[in-house]
Point group: D2
Chain length 285, copies 4
């Protein structure tokens, strides 16, 4: 991402001839310089999925004018259009439980500028990772989630997220299942699951992988939806294992792929490279 001000348009609409030319013309004729333009036609659904990234330096339309024009085109095309500006600073809330590897990894990447955004708070159902939050000077909020206490716990989570204005919630080994009610709260939520979904959904995937005797284990970063572990997959990766791997070995090696898979998903999301359609994702990376 350059530091010059620019705009990114994410498009999902029914495909028809001439869309590529239309979008390219729209940007160019208004003085924008296209830095990246990627298009995809999904043959299954007949959808056109596109990401345009252009500079706003010499752009002739104001933000208001641009948004009005985009709304008009979206209406004509019968699609979903999303417009973003940069440089931007998405506000991110990280939810954790006791494991620290993904939290550490994200905080280091945000601090170094590798991830475009700002971690505004860390929320947990356990108190332990306050230690890590303090190392990076991020506000930490602990709210227990005992049996029967989910409503109170999630109410607190909503307050914390709202108070800090977070637009994105990253579940960095947060070992609770969010209720459908929480999901209607408006923020996008990215989760890291420690298996190559759809294999081994739910709890204890490494134990189940050990039992099944698989030769690869993996991790999956996905958007959270009401159906458990069934949201749009953003990124997956795997490592090879063999019979010598105990569950503890899998957990240790798994941490390395969980970290990388989650970090990639968060980076692509923050750079508006992930476009969701038909419960799948196109990644224009």
């Amino acid at each position: 991402m350059t530091k010059i001000p620019g705009a990114i348009l994410n498009v999902v609409c029914p495909d028809r001839p001439g869309l590529v030319a239309m979008f390219a013309n729209f940007v160019h004729s208004n003085g924008g310089n296209i830095l990246n333009a990627e298009h995809h036609r999904d043959d299954g659904s007949g959808l056109f999925v596109s990401r345009l990234d252009w500079t706003l330096e010499a752009f002739k339309l104001s933000r208001t004018q641009l948004e009005a024009e985009v709304a008009k085109i979206a209406h004509d095309c019968g699609g979903v259009f999303k417009l973003f500006y940069y440089p931007q600073q998405t506000k991110v809330a990280i939810f954790v439980s006791k494991q620290d590897h993904c939290l550490f990894d994200l905080l280091i990447r945000f601090e170094s500028g590798e991830l475009l955004g700002q971690v505004v708070c860390i929320f947990s159902n356990h108190p332990e990772l306050d230690r890590v939050a303090k190392m990076f000077n991020i506000p930490f909020f602990f709210s227990p989630a005992p049996k029967g206490g989910k409503i109170q716990h999630e109410t607190r989570a909503k307050e914390v997220v709202k108070a800090h204005g977070a637009d994105l919630i990253v579940l960095a080994k947060y070992m609770q299942i969010l209720s459908p009610d929480f999901l209607e709260n408006g923020q996008q939520i990215i989760n890291i699951h420690h298996s190559f979904l759809p294999a081994f959904p739910g709890a204890q995937p490494y134990h189940n992988a050990y039992k099944r005797g698989v030769k690869v284990i993996g991790a999956t970063a996905h958007y959270v939806t009401a159906e458990l572990d069934a949201g749009p997959i953003i990124e997956q990766d795997i490592i090879r294992i063999d019979h010598r791997f105990s569950v503890a070995d899998m957990i240790r090696e798994g941490r390395d792929i969980e970290r990388v898979v989650l970090a990639r998903a968060v980076r692509w999301h923050l750079e508006r490279r992930v476009i969701v359609f038909e419960n799948k994702t196109a990644i224009f990376a």
Copy 2:
């Protein structure tokens, strides 16, 4: 594998101190030179799994004596011991349907000596691959498998396998589900499934992978058991895909991993490197 005559012992028995020393002594004190000795303790089950490979050149025991000694040790250890001799030529039957990529691949590898064994027959529920069988001068048997005709089809399969003395059946894209009755026939059976099991079992895994929007696809070679796609996994591998892959692209790329995964599994099996325990495999490769 060397060309010097030798023996391979595959062991699964309850673990106890001293087993490694006992096996090493047994071979060494009888004049065998251990070429490879690999051991594994499965912590979940407490089982000791081992593969010993030694030369018979200066071995003091006859085959009869060796087999008697091994049977005695197996009884003492309460385990399953299997003894193989080499050079050997396992007789292999290949079952196919219409797709030729795995068949070609196996025939080329057998012909070049990469796979230790002899393809004695090819059996199919379709006539098309007679063409490939002819290129390599292998007897080809076609028996249709129409709805309601499975019993007749499998009866013919059993006859062909028996007539050619095959010890191993390789399902190289044979798109039929073998009945439990057939499985009791005695030969070991290796199948290639075109997904990273346990994801996408059953039919049309690539279509289901497309629909789910996964970022990796894979292939699994496994021993066939009565429960569909649930036998011990021998080998798996994957390739990364993205939203640009159609089902046809997946099928094309998938062929490359199916070939390699099946070939590795067959090679390890023929070299007696695969030991099954607890519906899993140890691969001493």
Copy 3:
């Protein structure tokens, strides 16, 4: 690739604002439907690299008109433009020595239609692979290449290539170094080298990899240029090895990546997905 007639344009020219819009407009305003449009800006050189693929069904320009227009744009842009039509059948000559794995692999893929083209002849400095050529009914030409006999050997090679009208030469484990003179003959030449270049150039890469104790081995498909093993890299892949791998094991495992890497490179070339700039390649796959 669809079966509808279409055109593919490969472009390399200095980048400037508006190129994406210009190309999209040119195709769309003349009645073409863009199936794929991919662009790349190489920051090191400031070059714009692009591949457009559009249908010719309703295209208003004749081939002659189209070629004239493209020549005009190329002149204006100061770039190299290449225009291809499909369906097409590139004529391919395969050069081999004694190893058959890449030859078998390519012939199977061409026969199945996975590779868009036609193998018109096989040329070798050894007689052995006539056997394989016969299995697929391809003309085979043997010309020895003894010390001091390179000129005669290459003269024969040129005759064979010319007589069969081949546009592409694939060196499928052809263990001779082609002279600069041969390279000026006009055909594009793709070679498979059995290491991850630039590591282990020249002869015996697996022996050198064994000696160096690397933990990965690889294969590289590249266009042949006058400087040995230094042409534009089209594709590379690797596999992990460990200390247990002998040179023979590396050679066996290496065959699997050589096959796949070469096949991918040939496929992308034949589908005009490879664009060379600055001795590198952009792959619009």
Copy 4:
């Protein structure tokens, strides 16, 4: 690694029949329970390379007796034998320059107990990473390395290493070349190099990879020897790239493999799983 006291023996000696049995007997007859025994015969050199790991709970020999016996066997075999005890705490010095990703990664892994050892000091030719050292409460020592000041810089490094009793030095993106004099200091030194050696040795491997147009980039962890980037390779890994990767993208993605490759090498070293022979390594992982 278990928490029960145990011993690990690393062996390199000329191979001869009966070695496996001899070692197994030696341990078993003295009351040790072998937890792991792995052997490798290097065909190139005829060397036998072995790692034995056994419990000392019921072992009948004292450490003094054990060491005397091992010395005797080593003398008989004409080999190099190394004996280690556990639980142990290897003292580790980490050398860095300005980049923090490998440092952070190692400190997190040591803190979590994933790496068996204790970081006793951090030494740098730049002051910046004192910040990270403070987060983990590790003593940090800064000594500049200006042109002409290498001797003074290395003298300080030796003092710091000696004062903290470090047995292992990890170069975690320390961008200085250590002099032969420093290398004779006695500690083992592990370095992370940001390419898949032997490709792109020396400075700026990512720039050179960009220029060459490779399709994979990698990282290599190796023991440091007097010849630059030519010491025994412990671990390597790679990631695929394509023409869209700028040098900055390579550097970012490269950090992820550098981290993991270095961490694996350090872990295997600390668990005495790395045995060096013929400037190569056997990894008994």
